[in-house]
């Protein structure tokens, strides 16, 4: 698991990648709202901790 896998690379990736159990988690940076501020977050900075990604369809709906 030394090679880094970036989310962007997968758009063109020809092999089947299902992002499921035992797959490397694609890395990303993105804007995030943290305590009212908009800041960049980087998934790689969470190495050493568990992370739960909570995907949801839309703001103003339930999770």
């Amino acid at each position: 698991m030394d090679e880094k896998l970036y989310a962007e690379d997968l758009s063109q990736c020809p092999t089947v990648f299902c992002a499921t159990r035992d797959d490397q988690a694609p890395l990303f940076t993105a804007d995030a709202v943290i305590n009212g501020d908009i800041r960049k977050i980087n998934l790689e900075e969470y190495r050493g901790k568990w992370v739960i990604l909570f995907f949801y369809p839309s703001d103003f709906t339930f999770v």
């Binding site: 962007e8 299902c18 943290i34 908009i38 739960i52 995907f55 369809p57 703001d59």
Partner: protein, 136 residues
């Protein structure tokens, strides 16, 4: 989101972080956070996947509407996906199950035991010794 905020302290105590992600803009997240009473106690990062790159990479993008599925992806401290829960569009998550999953990973790691169905902390795990096959 209030349901997520309610279990967040338990998640944090298990050396885990929550990142909520939708394809809304960060500005939408900000207004959502500021106006919705259900987000009053939300302190975890709310990530904007405006480009759909993240949702697509995790294979949870509904291309027809440009929005993510309701899905939870568990990533371990080494950066490997260990579990992925995908929910229907109209059914919300079971948050205690998210906490239980983290507790179960920790229990399995510490004891080397298997974690049976409906296990909750305090219950015994199952031996993974091959000589027990057929006896449990």
């Amino acid at each position: 989101m209030a349901a997520v905020a309610a279990v967040y302290p338990y998640i944090k105590a298990l050396n885990a972080e929550i990142l909520s992600i939708s394809t809304d803009s960060a500005f939408s997240h900000k207004v959502f956070k500021e106006t919705s009473p259900s987000l009053k106690n939300v302190t975890f990062p709310m990530v904007s996947d405006r480009t759909h790159v993240i949702s697509r990479a995790y294979r949870v993008l509904d291309e027809n509407i440009g929005a993510a599925f309701r899905a939870s992806v568990f990533i371990d401290p080494e950066g490997v996906i260990r579990a992925k829960l995908v929910y229907p569009g109209n059914v919300g998550r079971n948050l205690p199950e998210h906490v239980r999953m983290l507790q179960a990973f920790e229990y399995a790691k510490q004891t080397g035991k298997g974690v049976p169905a409906n296990w909750v902390p305090g219950q015994e795990g199952i031996s993974t010794d091959p000589s027990n096959i057929g006896n449990i």
